[in-house]
């Protein structure tokens, strides 16, 4: 269970907002998982874990695509302003995702 200040986040509303934003990400984002917790300095945070197609994860396109995904999630969810959560974004290719079978990314 994420450790956040009591009453800080309404998980159902947050989940709805994120699912709405994810629909706008486009075909490069195969899957998006997230969790709420504290970052390394104790700040309330939301950690997005985004699986990209292998094509999108190529070096030539990677920063453009991850930048666009970050902008959409940042602008649509407004994690800082609406939820008091600082956002972090981590990316993995689809082939890495299938190889690792990490529950946190499911």
């Amino acid at each position: 269970m994420p450790m956040v200040p009591s009453g800080f986040v309404h998980q159902g509303q947050l989940d709805t907002e994120i699912k709405r934003a994810v629909r706008k990400l486009g075909p490069e984002a195969v899957h998006v998982a997230y969790s709420v917790g504290e970052d390394s300095t104790g700040e309330p945070s939301i950690f997005f874990r985004i699986v990209l197609t292998d094509t999108a994860a190529r070096e030539e396109t990677l920063t453009d695509i991850t930048g666009r995904i970050v902008t959409i999630l940042f602008d649509e969810v407004r994690p800082i302003e609406n939820w008091g959560l600082h956002p972090y974004f981590n990316f993995r290719s689809q082939s890495e995702h299938q190889r690792r079978k990490d529950p946190q990314w499911e």
Binding site: L52, L62, T63, V70, E81, H86, Y88
Partner: protein
């Protein structure tokens, strides 16, 4: 070549090392963070007229204060930047958000061995820091960028 440029080059070399190892990926992410850390300090202290004292002044910068300042700038309510050039605002927010991301990932890369660091994630961190270096010249002279540089050394009260 400046120290921060060397660090970025080192990060790019490490993230492309073959065969890929956790050591090279983790050192790449760490170097990418420190490249941006020292770039921002160098840009801030460049405003100090006495060139010989800039390195000593740079010792005043603190990772935590720089992260807090960058976090605050990402808040569009506290920092709406009304009337400013939207391209400059977007670039500055990218720098601030990426700095906090690199700070967190550097912490993972250096200390957290419970999970492997993904090659894609490491590459994205390094390329994002490179993007800051490429973006910086176009925004460094703007007043809001200079205010951001000052905020990096001032503890928020």
């Amino acid at each position: 070549m400046a120290y921060h440029d060397d660090l970025l080059n080192q990060a790019l070399q490490l993230v492309h090392t073959v065969p890929t190892t956790q050591a090279s990926l983790r050192r790449a992410v760490s170097s990418a963070y420190y490249a941006v850390f020292h770039l921002l300090i160098a840009e801030a202290t460049a405003n100090w007229n006495n060139v010989k004292l800039r390195a000593a002044l740079g010792r005043a910068y603190d990772h935590g204060i720089m992260k807090t300042a960058s976090n605050r700038l990402s808040n569009t309510r506290d920092f709406p930047f009304a009337g400013e050039d939207p391209r400059v605002v977007a670039s500055l927010r990218f720098v601030a958000l990426t700095f906090t991301q690199l700070h967190e990932n550097r912490n993972f890369a250096d200390y957290n061995l419970t999970k492997d660091l993904d090659p894609t994630d490491a590459l994205n961190q390094v390329k994002s820091s490179e993007k800051i270096f490429n973006t910086w010249p176009s925004i460094k002279s703007d007043q809001i960028t200079q205010e951001y540089l000052v905020s990096l050394v001032v503890k928020h009260r």
